[in-house]
């Protein structure tokens, strides 16, 4: 459905020295700088796949998404989405894709969303019956039937985002680009949007490319991730493999029983791993993955244990370490 072949985008920007003098100088001579936002990126996404696109700010995620949505032209390389080159903006292509940008509204601010949906029905030439069916399905899954006729600016951020999602999916797109769909939402709204995306995927099987800074979105929605670093694709594979490859440690948490036995001290448990925290009730250790079983057994024998919990390291921390590891290759 989406095939990307060595896609690149270079922007030209001008540097301006600070202050008034800098402004005057730049009137005469400006320093033109080439900024390679996306470099030779290649990947494929199939039907029904939700792929997470990760990267630090400025890594090229939005530029890549906008090229695949046909908004901006690439400098080099090629892409095929549903058999079309996106930036040629063929109407048949545009009728089958959708884009949600969490930071940009597409609906009329002063009107109820229902009015904007009617306009979209006309734009996408959605037959009456399909429109009614899709709208009923989307509003009921998102639980906002009653808000449809309320002026958009009177709705909460979460409700507006749900309306944006409906606007995006009304025409039943086969490819969906989701750029920060949960940004700024509270936890309940985030969860609702995630559940909705999963349900929609199950029902309609579109290819989805998801950009989010919330790791919870990525963990819940994506089995596969792409990691961009400084415009380069440094990882394309399963989220589980990244965790396995980069999570060198697990976190062992021990809830201690206060029954008179000696409390653990750095001297008595320090050999089992790195102590993250230690107080009379809880001990938290960072233990190398291969030594977790032995460490757990030792803890059970050395301390009075009420409960013991073994957790993977935080996925966000792992991704963060990959994103910030300049120049290192990711396998």
């Amino acid at each position: 459905m989406i095939e990307v072949d060595r896609l690149s985008k270079t922007f030209h920007v001008y540097r301006k020295p600070p202050g008034l003098l800098g402004s005057l100088k730049s009137l005469v001579k400006r320093e033109r700088v080439e900024k390679r936002a996306v470099k030779d990126v290649s990947f494929r996404i199939g039907e029904g796949e939700i792929v997470g696109l990760l990267g630090a700010n400025g890594a090229g995620k939005t530029t890549l998404t906008k090229m695949l949505a046909g908004i901006i032209h690439p400098t080099a390389g090629d892409a095929d989405v549903l058999g079309y080159r996106p930036w040629e903006r063929d109407d048949r292509f545009r009728r089958q894709i959708a884009l949600v940008m969490g930071q940009k509204a597409q609906l009329w601010w002063d009107l109820p969303a229902a009015d904007s949906f009617l306009l979209l029905k006309e734009i996408y030439r959605i037959p009456d019956a399909t429109y009614r069916e899709n709208l009923a399905y989307l509003t009921s899954v998102l639980g906002i039937e009653k808000e449809l006729t309320i002026q958009l600016r009177r709705l909460s951020l979460g409700e507006r985002m749900k309306m944006e999602l409906i606007a995006t999916l009304l025409h039943g797109p086969r490819v969906v680009y989701l750029d920060e769909p949960t940004i700024g939402l509270d936890l309940t709204a985030q969860r609702a949007i995630r559940n909705f995306i999963l349900a929609y995927r199950e029902e309609n099987r579109p290819a989805m490319l998801l950009t989010s800074h919330y790791m919870e979105d990525i963990q819940r929605l994506c089995k596969r991730i792409l990691i961009l670093r400084d415009g380069e694709l440094v990882y394309d594979g399963s989220l589980a493999r990244v965790v396995e490859r980069y999570a060198t440690h697990k976190v062992v948490t021990v809830h201690l029983r206060r029954d008179g036995k000696d409390c653990p001290t750095p001297q008595t448990v320090g050999d089992l791993g790195e102590i993250v925290s230690l107080d009379p009730d809880t001990l938290k250790l960072r233990v190398p993955r291969g030594e977790v079983a032995d460490a757990a057994a030792a803890l059970l024998s050395r301390c009075s244990v009420a409960d013991l919990l073994i957790e993977e390291a935080d996925v966000g921390d792992i991704i963060e370490s990959i994103l910030t590891a300049r120049g290192e290759s990711v396998s």
Binding site: G58, K104, L119
Partner: protein, 262 residues
Amino acid sequence: MGRYLRLYGYFLRFSFSKALQFRLDFYFRVGMDAIWYGVNLAFFGVLFQHTGALGGWNYDQVLVFICGVFLSDALHMTVFANNMWWFPFLVNHGDLDYYLVRPVSSLFFLSVRDFAANSFLNLLLAVGILVWAIARYPQPFDAASLVVYVALLLVGVFLHYVLSLLFLIPVFWLHSAHGLREIYFSFDRFTSRPHGIYRGWMGRVLTSILPFALIVSYPTSVLFDGVTWQVVVHVLAATLGVFLFMLWLWRRGLRAYASASS
């Protein structure tokens, strides 16, 4: 075509719904335009106390012309002006994005999305003033001249829109529209003067490369000089030429569109 008319129907409905929420602005615009009409009528009234003709036209003829300018301007303000105003902001803030992913002409969407419903009353006012100016003209105009005049005036409104957009499209490369707007407004003043006052190279420029004189003045001439195919073909050919050039520049602009970071 039918689909685009239906889309325009939605734009009209949305714009009226929005405009009726801001009553003060609604009345303010009527007042502002009434003052502008009055100032212009007074200006030409004073001018004709010192001269008997302007660019070959007497006071009655200039009155018909200037009332045609009011109507042309009211149409431009109502249909296109708001959209032209927002265009540079959309380009610079990356807000063209949603327009470009829709399976509909982005140029159509951007040009007529915002109908200035709060200028609608001015439009009726301008029509009334023009009808008054034509009715008080000493000799009655024949029906054919009036029909061609109205048709060319509408072509002139379209030409006005094309020229205004032509001056804004460079924002794709320049990222600022202030200077462009100022240049456009300077040229736009030529629209509200009879073309007969422009001689030599200036006359040639204003009727060919930058045909501001064709927006109202040429259409008005068919009322006084009769309909000639030369005038009709001239206005249509120049409008088509400028429109095709604008389309070409628009496509180049979209290629250069860089959107904005999220």
